[in-house]
Structure formats: structure tokens, C-alpha cells
């Protein structure tokens, strides 16, 4: 067995059935070993596409995503996807080829110090320099990627190591996940319960960490038992039952007025798997000014980083939430929050005939089954998806939260389609983001993946244009995209059918047609170039200073 074959055996040991990548010189031994292996390899058309596909695969399935690239440009093209996975805590193992060990440091062809480059955007990275350490290093990478707060791990493997004689062994460092609470942890739970029962205006602030901790059911039970009003971050969407009457929606810069008002007025924030991100808090000093904080997060570095907490937990989320589930009687506060929710419901009755993107996305959401996966890109459409579509699990909403990476959506949708082939996958993109990884349309073609693409086209870089309008005196610098290609012709070139719609009365039929078609489809939706995302907390403002459309 050579090193490359040992890599394949190690991947199989970890249950990997699908990998995403792009071959090249220094990774050829591994591609040779993959050639007749049971592992399915999806050839993406750019290493960044392979990285995002691995993320889509991982996020939609709660498994570890694997991507492969060659040295030099192949490896550097992975960097943005690794950074995205780092910011959003996605378990990824990236395998890169490297020039032979003797050539490292000689500026060899396609040589780059990817270990050095990866330090800021991975949980850890390895350069394998001895064939006998290859398998254990890979085992270690899988363990690290999944353990604690998940994240990407890179393993750089020189070509001669892939070609050397190697052997494959089971991991030496098996990790036991048994948790037995000790007295100090139980005492902490009692203190938190005292805080909860003594509060009169509690709010649960839910992030993506709850789903990642497999604690969605415990969170839902906690909310059902306590009756505490809840809000979600962008990555937390889908954690709370959509029909929970006390759920107030997304908080933060483009959150609902009900969510932001409740958080600003609460006296206790129970923060689960969230990190007081700046897009959530607005002006930090003015965020939830009267609230005490119970912070539950597996990453100790997130505790007291942006907001001091009164009580903290790093223990398993399921145990903490189950321990905090106690019936409460905060009827006056709950009634007030429900009143906020009723008063500030979304309005879809915009006058005119042109297509109103929030309404279209709401119509699309109503047509999708609960198991549908929606991948989106970054910009105005991303916020409209978050605001106007309903999710039944965090696994069903793929969005680039922390890094905010345009070009994420299409390859992430591809990864999700491979991870969950029986579930419908819809990509909602914008004309700016879509063009950033447009080459991945050929990956759809290659595998005939039945991905439905809803392209919201305002011929602008919409979110930047919106900020230019509101905060830069309407000086629209380089946000005009009126020279976009003909997207339908473009889709046809990749063997994908499609349709253009421009009027509101075409929407319902076009959505039905798209969802009825068996294969991939592009619905090209022309929308008003000057439409903005509302409400909006301006930069530097606090969350109670939300701007509405009439402001």
C-alpha cells in the first residue's frame, strides 16, 4: 500500500463516501488511488467550488466534508472556503498535494507554503513529512474537525509521501464523549435557574451552535416548557419551531422589529450557541442594556469576548437546556412580545406590477416541503431569504454567515444535493453572487443535479448600492451590473433550461413550473434595482434605532 492508497483507506474508515476536488500535479497519486476506490469524487470546476461544495455537504448532513486540491494555486483557491468554514464552524478536512519533501522551500513549480497560509483560516493544519505518520495525521484531522467547536482542518501531503510505502491503522487517540456533571456544574445550573425564575422579561437568543450541538430538540422543549420568547441569528434560523407562538424571528441588522425590541427591553438573555456578532448586536454598549446574561457555548473563547456573562456553560448543550427547562409565568411579558409580533408582521402588499422579491420568496417558501434545502448567496437576497422564508431545521438553510462570501450559494447547493439526494434543493442567488462561481453550473450538468435556481436580478450589487444610497449620498461607485450576460442563454450553454419573469402576476405559475420540472432549472427574476432590505439598523446605531422604508 502506498501513501495515496492509505489516504483512501483512512477516508473510508471515517465513513467518507463523497469528496469534492480538482486534480493537479502533486495530488496525482491520490487521484490515481481514488480512480478505482468506492469513494465518489465530484469534479468541481474550481477549487473554491470544491471547498464550498464540501461545506454544503457538511452543513446539510451534519457530516464532515472533504475537499481535495493540488499544491500552489489549487491550494490557495481553497483558502476562501476554508475561511468560510472557520467563521461558520463547519467540519471540513481539506487535503492538498505538496511538492516533494526535498523540493519544499526551493520555490518549486506550483509550490506554496499552504501550512503558513492556512493558519488564520483553519482550526489546525498539518504538513506530513513522514509516511508512517500519514494515517494518524488524517485520523487526527477528522477528530479535530468535529470535536468541540467544529472547523476546517488542512492536511498538506507532499507527492513523495503519497508515493511512499505506507500503512493504515485505526486511530490511536479515540475520544470518549461521556459527560458526567460534577457538583460545580450542577451548582451553576441552580444559579442559572434562579436567574431565570427571578427574571420577568427573559428572551432566548439562539445561534447556529444549537443545531451543531445536536441540541435542536432540547432547545425546542426548553422553549415549550418555559414559554420564553425567542429570537434567532442568521445561522440559527430553523432551530426554533416555525409555529412556536413566542418566536419573534431574526434579530440584528436586518432582524424583525419585534425581535430587536424584545431583546432591547429584556432583563435576561439566555444565549445558546451564539457569539454576540456585530451584525447581531449593533452598537454593543447599547445592546440589551438591562439584561443579565446566561451564555451557553462550547467554545470558552466566545465567553466574555464581546459581552460579559453572569453565568456561563461549556458543557453539552443538551444537558444544559434540559436542566434549565422549568415552567415559568411571565404572562405579561409574553403577551407584550406577541403584541410586538402581531404589530410588526411582514407586509407584502407593495403597490405596482413589478416583482416584489420578499413576496416571491414567501410564495416559494410556502410551496416547498419541510425537507427542502435552500442555499443562498450573499447580499440583499440573502437577507430576504432569512426574513421571508421558513426553515424547519438549520440543516435546511445554507448561508455564508460569518465570512459573508459571495459565490457560496451555487457550490454549496451542489454539495447539499449530493448529501441529501432525496430532498429538493433550491438556490436563491443574486446577479452579483451568481457570477462569482458560475463555472459550477457545469458541475450541475456533469451530474444532472436537479437544483432549482432562483436568480433575483436587479442588475446591481444590491446591498452595496443600498448602502451607497443611504450612507454615501447616492454615489453609486461600481455597483452597476447592467452589462450582465443573458442568464438564460448562459444556463442553456450548460444544458440547464430556464425562464425569465418580470411581472408579479407571472410569479405563481413560474414557481410551480420550476418545482414541477425534474431536472435543474433557472428562474431568472427581474426585480426593481432600487429595492432595499428593510428594516435596517444603520452602522454604529443601536438595535432600537431601526430604519423602516418610510424613514
Amino acid at each position: 500500500m502506498n501513501g495515496a492508497e492509505a489516504i483512501v483507506q483512512t477516508l473510508i474508515y471515517h465513513g467518507v463516501d463523497t469528496v469534492f476536488g480538482y486534480p493537479g500535479g502533486t495530488i496525482m497519486p491520490l487521484y490515481d488511488a481514488l480512480f478505482d476506490s468506492p469513494i465518489e469524487h465530484l469534479l468541481c470546476r474550481h477549487e473554491q467550488g470544491a471547498g464550498f461544495s464540501a461545506i454544503g455537504y457538511a452543513r446539510s448532513s451534519h457530516r464532515t466534508g472533504v475537499c481535495i486540491a493540488t499544491s500552489g494555486p489549487g491550494a490557495t483557491n481553497l483558502i476562501t472556503a476554508l475561511a468560510d468554514a472557520m467563521m461558520d464552524s463547519v467540519p471540513i478536512v481539506a487535503i492538498t498535494g505538496q511538492v516533494p519533501t526535498g523540493a519544499i522551500g526551493t520555490d518549486a513549480f506550483q509550490e506554496i507554503d499552504i501550512l503558513g497560509l492556512s493558519m488564520a483560516c483553519t482550526k489546525h493544519s498539518f504538513l506530513v513529512t513522514e509516511p508512517e505518520t500519514l494515517c494518524q495525521t488524517l485520523h487526527h484531522a477528522f477528530t479535530l474537525a468535529r470535536s468541540g467547536r467544529p472547523g476546517p482542518v488542512l492536511v498538506d501531503i507532499p507527492k513523495d509521501i503519497q508515493q511512499a510505502i505506507a500503512s493504515c491503522h485505526p486511530p490511536l487517540d479515540l475520544v470518549a464523549n461521556n459527560f458526567h456533571p460534577e457538583k460545580v456544574e450542577s451548582d451553576n445550573l441552580h444559579k442559572a435557574l434562579e436567574l431565570i425564575t427571578s427574571s420577568s422579561r427573559p428572551v432566548a437568543y439562539i445561534g447556529g451552535g444549537v443545531g451543531m450541538a445536536n441540541a435542536t430538540e432540547e432547545l425546542r422543549q426548553f422553549l415549550d416548557i418555559t414559554g420564553i420568547p425567542s429570537v434567532c441569528t442568521l445561522k440559527g434560523l430553523g432551530t426554533v419551531n416555525a409555529d412556536n407562538p413566542f418566536y419573534l424571528g431574526m434579530l440584528g441588522m436586518h432582524g424583525t422589529r419585534a425581535a430587536n425590541t424584545a431583546v432591547q427591553e429584556c432583563d435576561l438573555l439566555i444565549v445558546a450557541g451564539a457569539r454576540f456578532d456585530d451584525r447581531v448586536t449593533g452598537k454593543l454598549e447599547a445592546f440589551a442594556p438591562d439584561a443579565k446574561v446566561i451564555h451557553i457555548d462550547i467554545d470558552p473563547a466566545e465567553i466574555n469576548k464581546r459581552r460579559p456573562a453572569d453565568i456561563t456553560f461549556h458543557q453539552p448543550m443538551q444537558w444544559v437546556l434540559a436542566g434549565l427547562s422549568t415552567p415559568l409565568n411571565n404572562n405579561q411579558w409574553v403577551d407584550y412580545c406577541q403584541q410586538l409580533k402581531t404589530e410588526h408582521q411582514w407586509q407584502y402588499n407593495k403597490p405596482g406590477d413589478d416583482i416584489y422579491a420578499p413576496l416571491l420568496l414567501n410564495q416559494l417558501s410556502q410551496r416547498l416541503p419541510d425537507n427542502a434545502i435552500v442555499s443562498c448567496d450573499v447580499g440583499q437576497h440573502q437577507m430576504w431569504v432569512a426574513q421571508h422564508m421558513t426553515f424547519h431545521h438549520t440543516r435546511n438553510h445554507l448561508t455564508s454567515g460569518g465570512l459573508g462570501t459571495m459565490g457560496f450559494g451555487l457550490p454549496a447547493a451542489i454539495g447539499a444535493a449530493l448529501a441529501r439526494p432525496n430532498d429538493p434543493v433550491v438556490l436563491v442567488s443574486g446577479d452579483g453572487s451568481f457570477m462569482m462561481n458560475i463555472q459550477e453550473l457545469n458541475t450541475i450538468k456533469r451530474r444532472q443535479l436537479p437544483i432549482k435556481i432562483v436568480l433575483l436580478d436587479n442588475q446591481k450589487l444590491g446591498m452595496v448600492r443600498q448602502w451607497q444610497e443611504l450612507f454615501y449620498d447616492g454615489r453609486y461607485s461600481e455597483t452597476d451590473l447592467s452589462d450582465n450576460p443573458d442568464f438564460i442563454t448562459l444556463a442553456h450553454a450548460f444544458g440547464i433550461g430556464g425562464k425569465v419573469i418580470t411581472h408579479r402576476d407571472e410569479v405563481a405559475c413560474a414557481l410551480d413550473e420550476m418545482l414541477d420540472i425534474e431536472g435543474p432549472w433557472l428562474l431568472h427574476v427581474r426585480i426593481d434595482a432600487m429595492e432595499n432590505v428593510w428594516p435596517l439598523v444603520p452602522p454604529g446605531a443601536s438595535n432600537h434605532e431601526m430604519l423602516e422604508k418610510s424613514s
Binding site: G116, M119, A120, K123, H124, S125, L127, N304, K305
Partner: protein, 88 residues
């Protein structure tokens, strides 16, 4: 505020680079640093003083997450007393 950090790390070629990157990125300035191998030869002992307007725990929590950092101790040089990591 300046602090002294005493670390024990696995002897990996990249470990110093990783620690210094975190020190810089998290808003701390490196003032002094010394390194010695441990008796067993598998680890290194690292001592550094850093300064920042940011509280020490923000750096400590990030350095402790590094895979090859085994132990970390922080000494508040201004009060000249050692303490556990987060308490500094």
C-alpha cells in the same frame, strides 16, 4: 497593560508562528520572548510579555485553543502576581 505568558507547547515547527499570529491578530503587541526546550525534548517552554489595551483573557482564551499549546499561565506584571489563565 502588559502581561507575561508562560506556555508549554508541543515541539512542532509551526507552533511559534501560530502563537505569534494569534498575539498580533487579537490586538496584542509582543514585547519580549524567550524559548527553551523541555527536559524530555518533546516540548518547548515559552515565556513572553505582551501588551494591549484589551484585557488579557481575550488573548489567553484564543491561545489556549491552539492545538499544540499544552499549558498556559498568565502573570500580571503590573501587580506581579501569578494566577490561573482566565483570572489574570
Amino acid at each position: 497593560m502588559s502581561f507575561q505568558l508562560q506556555l508549554q507547547c508541543h515541539k512542532q515547527p509551526d507552533v511559534i508562528e501560530r502563537i505569534l499570529r494569534v498575539v498580533r491578530h487579537r490586538g496584542f503587541t509582543l514585547n519580549t520572548m524567550s524559548m527553551t526546550p523541555s527536559n524530555c525534548g518533546q516540548k518547548i517552554e515559552l515565556s513572553m510579555t505582551v501588551s494591549s489595551l484589551r484585557p488579557a483573557h481575550l488573548l489567553i482564551a484564543q491561545v489556549q485553543k491552539l492545538h499544540d499549546v499544552v499549558t498556559l499561565r498568565c502573570i500580571d506584571s503590573q501587580v506581579d502576581s501569578s494566577s490561573s489563565a482566565i483570572g489574570c
